[in-house]
Symmetry: C2
Subunit: 233 residues, 2 copies
């Protein structure tokens, strides 16, 4: 059938192979098929048929997305910080973790903060994002890391015994004097100080839900708040 597909000028052939039928994989491999992706009990194989043009099929999921939350008690000027249990070094950092499939970043922040520290919080804005490649433990995928500004809804800490060595509210002045923080944490601490002084609108990247051109789909859009000009200039 590969020959007839080529004759029909089809561009690409896909094979969906359940793990129970994985004996067909070598067979497909002999005909030039390769894995496009596989997950759980299913493998998806692909063969590009057109020789006159380069294969434009996107490779599978190029990025993982991590989210952390800077939970700020504005009255006391304290920030929620944690130390990971399973790392060799003892840096103070903001609670966070990887997004589940299909999860909005604000939800990831709220979930991870609660799981790690027992604190309930509310997403306010995005403060920063980081793109990094070749990180250890990412299976060759790149990393997008989004840092959110969060408002605490509770204040009583109950740290996750499996993941967190220590967790506390730290005053921003003490956090600024810490040496055991990453350059990213220090930068964010400076931004939070700036926002506390000048108002959050100078640092915030806002979020809004909008309707997609694909009917029934919605998306979250993040950008600087701005005032639309009324009428034509």
């Amino acid at each position: 059938s590969l020959k007839s597909w080529r004759d029909e000028k089809r561009t690409v052939a896909w094979l969906h192979i359940p793990i129970t039928h994985s004996r067909f994989i070598s067979l497909a491999g002999n005909h030039g098929f390769e894995y496009h992706h596989a997950e759980g009990s299913m493998a998806m194989m692909k063969l590009w048929l057109k020789t006159t043009r380069e294969d434009p099929t996107p490779i599978f999921g190029t990025h993982q997305v991590g989210v952390s939350g800077v939970v700020i008690n504005e009255k006391t000027e304290e920030i929620l910080v944690v130390q990971d249990k399973n790392r060799p070094y003892t840096l103070w950092k903001f609670p966070g973790g990887l997004s589940d499939l299909g999860e909005d970043i604000g939800k990831t922040a709220e979930r991870e903060i609660f799981e790690e520290t027992g604190i309930k919080s509310e997403f306010k804005s995005v403060l920063s994002m980081r793109q990094q490649h070749n990180l250890p433990g990412a299976f060759g995928r790149s990393d997008f890391y989004i840092i959110c500004r969060m408002k605490p809804l509770t204040f009583e800490i109950s740290a996750c015994v499996e993941e967190i060595r220590e967790c506390k509210w730290m005053h921003i002045e003490d956090l600024k004097r810490e040496i055991e923080v990453s350059s990213l944490t220090m930068r964010l601490t400076d931004m939070v100080e700036y926002g506390l002084r000048e108002g959050w609108d100078v640092v915030d990247i806002g979020c809004e839900e909008m309707e997609s051109i694909y009917k029934g789909f919605k998306f979250k859009l993040y950008h600087r708040p701005f005032h639309k000009q009324s009428g034509s200039s």
Copy 2:
């Protein structure tokens, strides 16, 4: 050996299976292994061994990342717009496409703009980002879409015949009157108008390269420009 691994209290077993040895996949499947991921000629299978704790292994690459560029000729107040060739509808949009593995978003914007329109441009800032789930054609992965502000370095259009139906410089006033644009394009057009009027610093999300705590690694960090307070307050 699975039994001895369990006895040693190992938590997870991994199998790296080349396509030429794919006869072992069903065998591994019978012992409870599942695909973690596969690509090209290699499949990675996983079995979580610890029964007392939930498997914390991250799933593989949850997101694809797309980038588009708003290329603005500030003198003429014109923006570079395209119409896709292979879509049923004829919306004006900004040139762009998916990031290659390991590619910084600014580079994706520059590359895609050049491939689609022949225009050379330079990354200036991020204007907006969108997170969307369950998009068609993303193989079940979520979509991060980053929109960059770009400065044109050349002005002569040479559109890609395979991907682009039409490509032109359109004045921002005409783009604002277009009906054949998405809500995202309209929002960005409003932002660009606002930036042209008030200065780019009111809309820009800046970018800077920083050193990682992982020696030898660098990352790109994106946030609002701000003035660090000198000394302690």
